[in-house]
C-alpha cells in the first residue's frame, strides 16, 4: 500500500515537473533558447494543461504510471534542473555550419530585404549581402552586429569568427552563420563570448583569394534575449 501511494505521487510529480519546467523556462526567458518565439503561447497553454492534469491526477487518485515511462520522462526535467541552459553556440558550429558552396539559394529563400543602413544589418543580412553583391561594393560599409565568438585553430590571434544561428522552428534545425572579424582586441575573446562587432567591411586577401571580413573592434555584451535569428 505504501509503495502504491509513493508510485502514484511520483507520477503526479513527473507530470507536474514537465509543466513546471516549461513555465519556469518561459518565466526566465529561456524558452527561446529552444524554439521559435511564435510557439511560446502554445507551449504555455500546454504547460497549464499538464499542470491541471497533474492536479487532477492527485485529486482523483489516478493510477500510478509504469516506472519505465516515469524514468524516461524524468530525463527532460533532469536536464532542465541539472544542465545549465545555454543556446546553440561554438560547440556545435562544426556540425551545423552552412555549407559554403550551396548556401546561395538557402539565403535567397530566407528573403531578407536589405535596408540602405548597413549599421542596422544583422549577421543574417550581412551574410546575404556578402553572397549577393560584389565584395568591392560593400567595402567600407559600416557594421554593428551581434554574435558569439567562434575560434578555429587556423585563425591568427587577432581574428575570430563571429557567429549566430538561424532557427526556423526549433533548435533541431539551427543553421550556423559566421563572418570573419579582424579586431584589434580579438585576442581577448574566447569561444561563446557574446560580442557586438563595430567596424567596417574590408575584404581581405588570404592565400590568394579575397574573403569577406570586418575590421574593427569587439565589444563584450550580454547574450541577447533571443540568441537566434529568425528568417
Amino acid at each position: 500500500m505504501q509503495r502504491q501511494v509513493l508510485e502514484r505521487w511520483l507520477s503526479v510529480g513527473v507530470m507536474f515537473g514537465l509543466g513546471a519546467m516549461i513555465i519556469y523556462k518561459w518565466q526566465t526567458n529561456r524558452l527561446n533558447l529552444y524554439i521559435h518565439p511564435r510557439y511560446t503561447s502554445l507551449l504555455v497553454a500546454t504547460a497549464v494543461v499538464l499542470l491541471l492534469v497533474a492536479v487532477g491526477m492527485a485529486l482523483t487518485k489516478a493510477p500510478a504510471i509504469p516506472k519505465r515511462m516515469l524514468a524516461l520522462l524524468t530525463i527532460p526535467v533532469a536536464f532542465a534542473v541539472l544542465v545549465p541552459a545555454r543556446p546553440l553556440g561554438a560547440n556545435l558550429v562544426s556540425g551545423k555550419a552552412l555549407n559554403a558552396n550551396s548556401s546561395d539559394n538557402l539565403l535567397a529563400r530566407w528573403k531578407t530585404n536589405l535596408s540602405d543602413d548597413s549599421k542596422s544589418w544583422t549577421l543574417l543580412e550581412w551574410t546575404t549581402a556578402v553572397r549577393q553583391s560584389d565584395l568591392e561594393v560593400l567595402r567600407d560599409k559600416q557594421a554593428a552586429f551581434e554574435g558569439f565568438v567562434y575560434r578555429t585553430p587556423d585563425l591568427p590571434a587577432d581574428e575570430v569568427l563571429v557567429g549566430r544561428y538561424v532557427v526556423t522552428c526549433c533548435t533541431a534545425d539551427g543553421t550556423a552563420l559566421s563572418l570573419r572579424v579582424k579586431a584589434n582586441n580579438g585576442a581577448d575573446f574566447s569561444n561563446d563570448q557574446w560580442v557586438r562587432v563595430e567596424g567596417t567591411f574590408v575584404p581581405a586577401e588570404i592565400n590568394g583569394s579575397i574573403v569577406p571580413q570586418i575590421a574593427g573592434t569587439l565589444v563584450s555584451i550580454e547574450m541577447p534575449s533571443s540568441p537566434y535569428l529568425y528568417p
Binding site: L43, G56, P84, G95, A97, C169
Partner: protein
C-alpha cells in the same frame, strides 16, 4: 532499422541494457552539468550541453502536439461508440484504407497525435487497414499542414502534391498490409483490446501498472484524467527516446557530411541520391509535420524539388520518434513493413516530382 531493434533484444540483453542505461545516463548528466568536471573533459561537456539544447528543442516543440493528440484520442475514447464507427466505416480493406487516409481532415493531428488516435480507433473496432492508413496519412492530410505547406512554399500546388502523394502511399500501404492478414498478426495486444465504454479499470497497458489493484477512480472526469495521463506517458516515452537519438546524431554527425554526400552523385543516380539523403535528414531531424514545411523550404536551394517532396512525404510518416511510437500499436513486423514500403513509395514520389517539377 536499428531504431526498431531496441525492443527486439532478447531478455537477458535487455536486462544488461536496463542495468547500464541508468549508469550511462547519470554519467552523461554529470558531464553535461559541468559540475566538478575535469578541464580536459570540458569539450565533451560543451558537446553534451549542445546535445541537451537540441533535445529540448525537439521535445518541447513536439509536446503541445503530442498532448493535443492524446486529448483527441481520449475524447474519441469517451464519446465515439464502436457501433458508431462500424456504421460508417467501410468494412472492406479498400474502403477502410481510403477512409483512414482521409480521416485526418476531421482530426487534425500530427505524427505524435496520429498514433494514439489510430490506436484508439483500432480498439473501437476499426479495420487494421484503416488504422495503418490513418497513422501514416493523418500527419499530412489535415487542414493545419495543408495551410502551413501552402504558406511556406507560397504555392498551393506543393501542398496539394504533398497531400496527394501521402494519400496514395498511405492507402496503398494500408491495403498491402491490412488486406487478407488477420488483425491479430498486425496489431499489438494492446491495440487489440476492445475499448469498452466506462471501463475504468486501466488495465489497458501491458507495462505492469495493473499488477496490483487500486481503488476505482470515480466519475467521468476522473476516468478521462486517468486514461489521458497513462496514454500521455506511454507516447511521450518514445518522444524522449526519439529526441535523444536524433539530438545525439545531430551533435556527432555534421550536416555537412550529408550535404557532401548529396553533391557526390553523378548522372542517373544524382536525383536518387538527393532523395535518399533528404529522407535520411527527415528521419534524423524528427521535426513535427505541422512545422516541417518551413524547414523543407530551406532545403529547396540545396536539393532538387523531387528530394524536397520526398522529405515532405516521408518525414511525417517515418522518423525516429514516430517509428518508436508505432510499435505501441502495430507489431514489429508490421512496423518494419510500413517503414520499408513508405521509404520505397516516397522514393518513387520523389522521382515523379523530379521529372514533373524540374
Amino acid at each position: 532499422m536499428a531504431v526498431v531493434s531496441i525492443d527486439v533484444k532478447p531478455k537477458n540483453q535487455r536486462k544488461w541494457l536496463l542495468f547500464f542505461a541508468p549508469i550511462i545516463g547519470i554519467l552523461g548528466l554529470w558531464l553535461a552539468s559541468g559540475w566538478l568536471v575535469p578541464s580536459n573533459l570540458a569539450p565533451l561537456t560543451n558537446k553534451l550541453q549542445g546535445l541537451v539544447t537540441t533535445f529540448q528543442g525537439i521535445f518541447i516543440e513536439a509536446l503541445p502536439f503530442l498532448s493535443a493528440g492524446v486529448i483527441v484520442s481520449v475524447l474519441i475514447g469517451e464519446f465515439v461508440k464502436p457501433q458508431h464507427l462500424a456504421s460508417f466505416v467501410p468494412q472492406n480493406a479498400f474502403g477502410a484504407s481510403i477512409f483512414g487516409s482521409l480521416l485526418g481532415l476531421l482530426f487534425p493531428v500530427c505524427e505524435c497525435g496520429a498514433i494514439p488516435t489510430s490506436r484508439r480507433l483500432l480498439r473501437k473496432g476499426a479495420p487494421a487497414s484503416m488504422g495503418i492508413a490513418f497513422a501514416l496519412a493523418a500527419p499530412v492530410v489535415n487542414p493545419i499542414v495543408l495551410i502551413s505547406t501552402s504558406i511556406a512554399f507560397g504555392d498551393v500546388r506543393w501542398a496539394l502534391a504533398r497531400v496527394g502523394f501521402t494519400i496514395i502511399i498511405a492507402l496503398t500501404i494500408g491495403l498491402i498490409i491490412g488486406a487478407g492478414i488477420k488483425r491479430e498478426a498486425i496489431l499489438t495486444p494492446l491495440a487489440l483490446t476492445p475499448d469498452v465504454e466506462h471501463d475504468h479499470s486501466h488495465c489497458d497497458h501491458d507495462h505492469g501498472a495493473c499488477d496490483h489493484t487500486h481503488e476505482q477512480p470515480k466519475g467521468r472526469l476522473a476516468g478521462l484524467i486517468a486514461h489521458g495521463s497513462v496514454e500521455f506517458f506511454e507516447m511521450a516515452q518514445y518522444l524522449v527516446m526519439g529526441s535523444l537519438l536524433a539530438a545525439t546524431m545531430q551533435t556527432f554527425i555534421p550536416q555537412s557530411a550529408l550535404l557532401t554526400l548529396n553533391d557526390s552523385g553523378i548522372g542517373f543516380f544524382a536525383p536518387l541520391l538527393g532523395i535518399v539523403v533528404l529522407m535520411l535528414v527527415a528521419v534524423l531531424l524528427s521535426v513535427c509535420s505541422t512545422v516541417d514545411a518551413f524547414l523543407a523550404l530551406s532545403f529547396l536551394g540545396l536539393f532538387h524539388p523531387g528530394a524536397v517532396m520526398a522529405f515532405l512525404v516521408f518525414g511525417p510518416m517515418i522518423d525516429i520518434k514516430s517509428t518508436l511510437m508505432l510499435t505501441t500499436t502495430f507489431r514489429r513486423s508490421a512496423v518494419m513493413a510500413m517503414v520499408v514500403l513508405a521509404a520505397l513509395f516516397a522514393i518513387i514520389a520523389g522521382l515523379i516530382s523530379y521529372v514533373v517539377l524540374i
